[in-house]
Amino acid sequence: MLNKTTLFSLLALSLSGCVGLNTVSMTQVPAERENKISTSSSSWNFIGINFSNQFVDVAIDKLKEQCPSGKIEGVYTKHQTTGYLLVFKREVIVSAYCNEV
């Protein structure tokens, strides 16, 4: 029974991640705020070993696709890391307003 409890606790521990907020930034917020767009991209790693940070560029490309001919303003960028058991998820979450000119 003790083993089952230990295993269940370990499983629960590995499924519930602890989030660490790395950085937050924001640009000037426009008066027109009707068309909100958002995107995110992430990268998983084992014990913190990563070989690239290209997932950041993916988020920006996805943001641009949502506003192909307008101005993307009021950009809110959040960079966070979620830690599971030995596995980590690095994530960039971006939201902004798309204003057509």
Partner: protein, 141 residues
């Protein structure tokens, strides 16, 4: 564990530890309404060095116990003298990021710039690292 096995394990960890770290990301406004955008990337980097970790590796591979103890003490002194909030490894040139504005202007001769993304990242190989500031952006043509 015999000392050779320990050293080999440490070395292999050192080799696979050549990894990227992302410290900071800032995405700015992107104006796609004034013409075609051409992407550019500008990067500056500086050698980062963790002296305490280097001495600790020396202590781990030292043959005699007394040398190992001495090196561990030095590593401890170095570690506490660099204690505090840091972003990446220490560098020995605190002006290395200042050229980045000149480089951004050079990268975009039209001078119309939008969508600047500032990224502070590092590539670590054991106690040595490349401390990088990268700016991605778009020239409006």
């Amino acid at each position: 564990m015999p000392i050779k096995m320990k050293s080999m394990f440490g070395l292999s960890l050192l080799l696979i530890g050549g990894c990227s770290q992302l410290h900071h990301v800032h995405v700015s406004d992107i104006d796609q309404s004034r013409g075609r955008l051409t992407p550019f990337t500008v990067k500056v980097n500086e050698l980062g060095f963790d002296a305490a970790q280097t001495v600790q590796i020396g202590a781990d591979v030292a043959k005699s116990a007394s040398t190992s103890e001495d090196l561990e003490f030095i590593a401890f002194i170095l570690a506490i003298s660099n204690f505090g909030p840091t972003t990446g490894n220490p560098v020995y040139n605190d002006n290395y990021a200042e050229q980045i504005l000149v480089e951004v202007v050079k990268a975009c001769p039209s001078r119309k710039i939008t969508g600047l993304t500032s990224i502070r990242e590092a590539t670590n190989i054991g106690p040595v690292s490349g401390e990088v500031v990268r700016i991605n952006g778009y020239c409006i043509n």
